[in-house]
């Protein structure tokens, strides 16, 4: 059994950090975003003089998790993609093992975490569309299963959207959508059948984006001329679609760096209060949003003057 690291001095431990991330998904491939986090954490750790031990562990049952924790093979652990109820966090918190979470849940509060302000971002998306004159704004969330059991950001995004819509005295319409192309088409179908005058949507679901675009094209809605789409948080992949998605970019590098910084702070003085960092990147303007053009045949919107033919000037 390795000696327990001295938590008051970072120089005495293994000089290794652990990184826990869920095993590859359905397609047996890691996403660009996941890889960006892994690379970012490794780079930031190296700058602090630490090596990184990688462990694909989605739950505490994954064999690499106990190996890393029980044997104290690392000084501290950074946990990626935590769910609302995450037994990895549970175990780490119980064991008093130094950890920092990328993402957050109620248990993670005992330690440091860094996360995106999903509620604020979703609200910002609504605000952006409202600034462009849109009044009928739909919200496309992740899958039902993920929303109910899984990651907190799906709920946070939903809350942020609904709250901002209500503040603007608009009616929220939220939709759950599977992480695939077909679901994207279906959700557009549903949105436009429930309110054909919808002129814009906010999406949390990057995987279904191509489907959403396809569905809009089938309904004769051209993005961004007749319909605006804005993403809550998107990977650099959002630049590759046509038109490029206007969305807040997930600052993977900065989040990784902050996570490592929080870990260093924790290792240097274990009794310091846990710090929580909430990042709120701005919405990067690309090509998928424009001024609201009322849908022909829908009732006129008299509450605000509209500016036909005007486009956002940048």
């Amino acid at each position: 059994m390795a000696a327990r690291p001295r938590t008051d001095d970072s120089g005495g431990g293994t000089h290794t950090l652990g990184l826990l991330y869920p095993p590859a998904g359905r397609l047996r491939d890691y996403t660009t975003m996941q890889l960006a986090f892994v690379g970012g954490v490794a780079e930031a750790a190296a700058q602090q003089g630490y090596d990184l031990l990688l462990a694909p562990a989605g739950t505490h049952d994954d064999p690499s998790f106990p190996r890393m924790i029980d044997d104290w093979r690392v000084d501290g652990v950074i946990v990626m993609e935590i769910r609302r109820e995450d037994d990895r966090v549970e175990r780490l918190a119980e064991a008093g093992f130094p950890f920092v979470a990328i993402g957050r849940n109620h248990r993670a509060d005992v330690s440091g975490w860094v996360d995106l302000d999903f509620a604020g971002l979703a609200g910002g998306c609504v605000q952006h569309l409202a600034d462009l004159g849109h009044r009928r704004i739909a919200f496309v969330n992740r899958s039902e299963q993920l929303f109910n059991s899984g990651y907190g950001f799906a709920r946070l995004g939903d809350e942020g959207y609904t709250e901002t819509m209500k503040k603007l005295l608009l009616t929220p319409h939220t939709y759950l959508c599977g992480d695939d192309l077909a679901s994207g088409e279906e959700v557009v179908e549903k949105i436009l059948s429930e309110d054909p005058a919808t002129t814009s949507l906010v999406t949390m679901n990057e995987a279904a984006l191509e489907g959403v675009y396809r569905g809009l094209t089938r309904h004769g809605r051209s993005v961004p001329r007749d319909f605006s789409v804005v993403g809550v948080a998107a990977s650099p992949w959002a630049e590759q679609v046509n038109p490029p998605l206007t969305a807040a970019e997930i600052p993977a590098k900065e989040m990784s760096r902050v996570a490592v910084d929080l870990m260093m702070r924790r290792l240097r003085s274990s009794d310091s209060p846990p710090r929580h960092v909430l990042l709120k990147p701005l919405i990067t303007l690309r090509g998928s949003t424009g001024r609201c053009q009322p849908v022909p045949g829908s009732e006129p919107e008299n509450d605000l003057p509209d500016f036909p033919g005007l486009e956002l000037d940048f």
């Binding site: 600034d131 462009l132 990147p281 005007l310 940048f314």
Partner: protein
């Protein structure tokens, strides 16, 4: 019938050998006198008499004797029948020579100075004098004369440096083997040499083999020594070229071993000849000066080095019209605008001469000024139109006796285009100008379809903008009608030819310029020509970042954080502090005074540009904040921190921009 076979010389200068008895014409004349029984006069040239028997017959034709022979019938006093022909021959060489000189001078009046070209005029002098007066003639001029400058009045003393502009010799063939100096070459004449002496005295100088100065001069120059030895130059006359009291250069007349030496009488002739040539040269010089002045004026009005900018790569040509029409009023310009955009301008003031050039200069300055205000193309042309109208009215006030002003009307055309490398959109507006042509990267070339628009100065009619999205690497060609329009070709045909040239093999812009000029330019262009080529560049996602901002003061902190994040990604951390301050000032202003949507944009190009736009059209202004004012300092701070800031209006609102230099390294 008996014929007198031999004449009797009654002249004082008795010459037993002249004229030669074998002269066919003389014998025919004798027969006619005998047959017609009437006196006649016969004139002929005969070679210089041979003084000693067996001496060589002279080779050169330049020294013959002129004879006047009187013939009369001799009658038998008894019968009255013609029994013989009496002849009397007079040596009239002097009168003949005088007449020849007169003829030469008369010819000089018509042959020298046929053009307004200095070199050509000098050559005409040399051509006329050979071989009738000399075997070799050279004309050298002061350098200043060739440039069209005013030489110092009065004689030139001491050693003179002159440039050879013309020479001619009696030698057969094209070249002038006798010349010691090549055309265009420079020679220094020592003060004692005949050419330098004649310049010092202002009078022609006769010199030759017997003169020690001549010998010293020849000996001082190796090639000259060789030439003199080879051709046997023995007699030389140097005469200054003087007109209107100023000395322009020197003409040197030389005779070789085949001809007799010059005589003092010849000095008067060359002085007269040189005088006529000098006036021609001086006229040509004055014309050269006027034309150079006009061209200099025009060049100084046209851009010399176009400003550096990243939006387009440019190449340009300006060609003045041929000698006849003088300078013109074509111009072009490239003006960098805010946000890495660039304005491309080409225009044409109708007419030629200084007046057109001056008007062009005014319009070009006006366009630059208006472009700096960042007006959209259609608005800019409207302002320019107003200006031209005002200029026209101003000029109507000028008295009718004012030279150069034909009428108060100014006709001008202009094409103004703004290219934005971020959106890759080029916006054109035309005031009656030739439309541009565009070559797309796929190799297709076409004329950009524009609303032609009214000419400048017409007033009241609207100008229209045409937008064109251009793929990166498109080539825009702007020109004036001098290039595409010709006597035998209409504009459409010329533009088609221009498109064909553009679509040709891909070459550098400079080469393409030359290709276009070669293919389209008429042999002697009657109008001046301006050509501007611009290949578009594009700014990519790694150079531009744009974000949307809600109108909420709490966003300012996020905007600052995002700015730092972006600058870190660009490796410009050093600029982060200043940029954050600028961003928070501009964003705060936009939130406080502007209207949604608010946008923030960072551009990394030659400089770091920070832009905040909003939907309101009220422009900000610098205020002087009072001591206890909380606000009113933001723009002052932005102005202090950046190398420039400004604002531009658009149909959708306004944009405030601030530019700072990139950190070193």
């Amino acid at each position: 019938m008996r014929h007198a076979e031999r004449g009797v010389a009654l002249d004082v200068g008795y010459e037993p050998h002249a004229p030669a008895p074998a002269d066919e014409g003389f014998l025919r004349c004798v027969r006619r006198v005998a047959e017609e029984r009437a006196p006649m006069r016969y004139e002929c040239l005969a070679p210089e008499p041979v003084c000693a028997p067996g001496a060589a017959v002279p080779r050169s034709s330049t020294h013959h004797r002129a004879w006047v022979i009187e013939l009369w019938p001799v009658r038998d006093p008894a019968t009255g029948e013609v029994v013989g022909v009496g002849t009397a021959a007079f040596d009239s060489s002097d009168q003949h020579a005088a007449r020849q000189r007169l003829a030469l001078l008369q010819e000089a009046g018509t042959c020298i100075g046929t053009t307004l070209n200095v070199t050509r005029t000098a050559q005409e002098l040399a051509d006329l004098a050979v071989p009738r007066l000399a075997d070799f003639v050279s004309v050298d001029l002061l350098d200043s004369v060739l440039r069209g400058d005013e030489p110092v009045p009065g004689p030139v003393d001491a050693a003179v440096v002159l440039r050879r502009v013309a020479h001619q010799s009696a030698a057969e063939g094209e070249g002038v083997p006798e010349a010691a100096i090549d055309l265009g070459g420079v020679d220094t004449y020592p003060p004692f040499s005949p050419p330098a002496r004649c310049l010092a005295d202002g009078k022609p100088v006769l010199s030759g083999a017997g003169d020690p100065d001549f010998a010293a001069w020849i000996a001082g120059h190796e090639t000259r020594t060789a030439r003199v030895a080879e051709y046997g130059f023995h007699s030389v006359m140097a005469t200054p070229l003087r007109a209107r009291g100023i000395t322009l250069g020197v003409a040197v007349f030389t005779r070789n071993s085949g001809s007799p030496p010059f005589e003092p009488d010849d000095l008067i002739l060359v002085e007269e000849l040189a005088g006529r040539a000098a006036v021609g040269v001086d006229n040509a010089r004055r014309y050269t000066r006027e034309r150079t002045n006009a061209l200099t004026l025009q060049r100084s009005l046209l851009p010399r080095d176009l400003p550096k900018q990243a939006a387009v790569e440019v190449a340009y040509r300006y060609l003045p019209a041929g000698t006849g029409a003088g300078v013109g009023g074509d111009w072009f310009d490239v003006v960098p605008l805010s946000g890495t955009r660039v304005a491309l301008v080409v225009g044409d003031v109708v007419g030629h001469g200084i007046h057109a050039s001056a008007t062009m200069g005014r319009l070009r300055t006006a366009v630059r000024t208006l472009a700096d205000v960042d007006l959209p193309p259609d608005e800019l042309l409207t302002h320019l139109d107003d200006l031209v109208t005002h200029l026209s009215t101003d000029e109507e006030d000028i008295g009718p006796d004012e030279p150069y002003v034909v009428s108060g009307e100014i006709g001008a055309t202009c094409l103004y285009a703004v290219y934005d490398p971020v959106s890759r959109v080029c916006t054109f507006a035309s005031a009656g100008h030739v439309p541009p042509a565009v070559l797309l990267p796929d190799g297709t070339a076409r004329v950009v379809e524009l609303t032609p628009g009214p000419l400048l100065g017409v007033g009241g009619l609207p100008f229209e903008c045409t937008e064109l999205e251009l793929p990166e690497g498109s080539l825009l060609a702007f020109c004036t009608d001098g290039l595409v329009e010709a006597r035998d070709r209409d504009v459409g045909l010329g533009l088609n030819r221009l498109c064909e040239c553009l679509a040709g093999p891909v070459a550098s812009l400079e080469t393409t310029c030359d290709t276009i000029l070669k293919a389209l330019l008429p042999k002697s262009p009657s109008d001046d020509v301006a050509l501007l080529l611009a290949r578009t560049r594009a700014l990519h996602a790694d150079q531009v970042a744009a974000w949307s901002l809600p109108s909420d003061p709490s966003i300012v902190a996020d905007a600052r954080a995002q700015t730092t994040r972006q600058l870190t990604a660009w490796g410009l951390e050093e600029a982060a502090f200043v940029t954050e301050l600028v961003v928070s000032e501009l964003v705060t202003n936009a939130i406080r005074y502007g209207a949604v949507p608010i946008g923030l944009r960072l551009i990394r190009d030659r400089t770091l540009i920070c832009e905040v736009s909003d939907a309101s059209n009220t422009a900000p202004h610098l205020r002087r904040a009072r001591t206890y004012d909380e606000g009113g300092r933001g723009l002052h701070m932005v102005a202090q921190l950046t190398q420039g800031w400004g604002t531009r209006q658009s149909p959708m609102g306004k944009t405030i921009w601030a530019e700072q230099p990139l950190p070193d390294g």
